[in-house]
Amino acid sequence: MTSDQDTFIADAVEKALAGDMDAINSIEDRSIRGKAKAALVKAKRAAKAEQKSESSEESQGGGTPEEKVVQSSLSALLSSVYPDEIIEILNEGKVVQLKPQKWNEIATFFRDHADALLDQLECLTGVDLGTEEPLQVRYNLHSMKHRHKIEILINADRVKPEIPTVETIWRMADWFEREVYDMYGIVFTDHRDLRRLLCPEDWEGWPLRKDYEEQESYHGIVVPKVKEGWE
């Protein structure tokens, strides 16, 4: 390629970037026109990448500024309406620990309030923190409209674990709660169909608790406990 052509193409690209696409489209030689178009795409891409790097420099320090505002506003909303129900706000307002008593009411509020609209229960997990600690249930909520998230923790007593169900609020919770009941024995009060999900219905004990012990036999089938020399 001659330097003459180079300057010609560079000229055309500059004009096109300024908004005059005719400068390229009117080139008669097909090969030169093609080269000019390729150069134009390249130039546009470079401009975009530059813009992006600038904007990412501005928002360093976790998430876009917009997201941060929403995160803190969710827990702020909760603490303004139900100040007595909150035990602790953790992780810059992303995680909130609640008392179990009014959980059903709070869940409905969270789902329906215009500033929250947490219409999706992403996950519901049971946690056993250790034999001396209480059991815990964690709810991950997400809003399709506002695109914000919050995590709720609720502790349950180890001896008589009871938490109000949210199965009627998010239908998603139905099997989630059944699984948590199956594995940890946490009773979700007022759940309409609280049966074991994975284990057989006549299984004994709660397998994912730290103090779980296997049963000796199941319907006459031996469960060998001492594994050495049992062959």
Binding site: C199, P200, W203, Y212, Y218, H219, I221, V223, E231
Partner: protein, 163 residues
């Protein structure tokens, strides 16, 4: 019959009834597909065109009543163990069981901490052939099936047992 056609007079084959029965049984052991975990994929591969179980007379059946061999392929949980037993009982005699893979044979990786895994399918049903592997390759399963065929062939169902 090609080569042999119209080459013989009327003729008779002499064989012992036991051997004849053994030959008939061993060359068409239809199997009950019992895919419970990843071993099932290998079992399917064995039955599919590359390894082609049909050539040793085996056809997969979905009903225990049409099957002679049950291939237990995969992890048997306690919940499933009761069903395995029930389905085995519904098979017609003579019936055979192949325990395919580590899980079905001994609980496999769930031996130590799997609280709900049956430690070997032989705790609920009698097993004829164990195929080791995790999961066994199709060749290994075919080897097991040929061993089972040998076993069926050697049976003498009509001969009186001497106590």
């Amino acid at each position: 019959m090609g080569l042999l056609e119209h080459k013989f007079q009327d003729n008779v084959v002499v064989a012992s009834m036991d051997k004849l029965l053994g030959w008939a049984r061993s060359t068409s052991p239809w199997f009950f597909q019992f895919g419970l975990a990843c071993c099932a994929i290998e079992m399917m591969a064995t039955a599919a065109s590359r390894h082609d179980l049909m050539r040793i007379g085996m056809i997969p059946r979905s009903s225990p009543r049409q099957a002679d061999v049950m291939i237990v392929a995969g992890t048997v949980t306690m919940k499933m163990a009761l069903r395995v037993k029930k389905l085995y009982e519904q098979m017609a005699d003579p019936k055979y069981v192949i325990s395919m893979g580590s899980c079905a044979t001994s609980g496999g990786p769930y031996w130590q901490y799997g609280y709900h895994v049956l430690k070997g399918v032989d705790l609920v049903v009698p097993v004829d052939v164990y195929v080791p592997g995790c999961p066994p390759r199709p060749e290994a399963l075919i080897e097991g099936l040929l061993k089972l065929q040998e076993k069926i062939q050697a049976e003498r169902p009509l001969t009186k047992k001497i106590a």
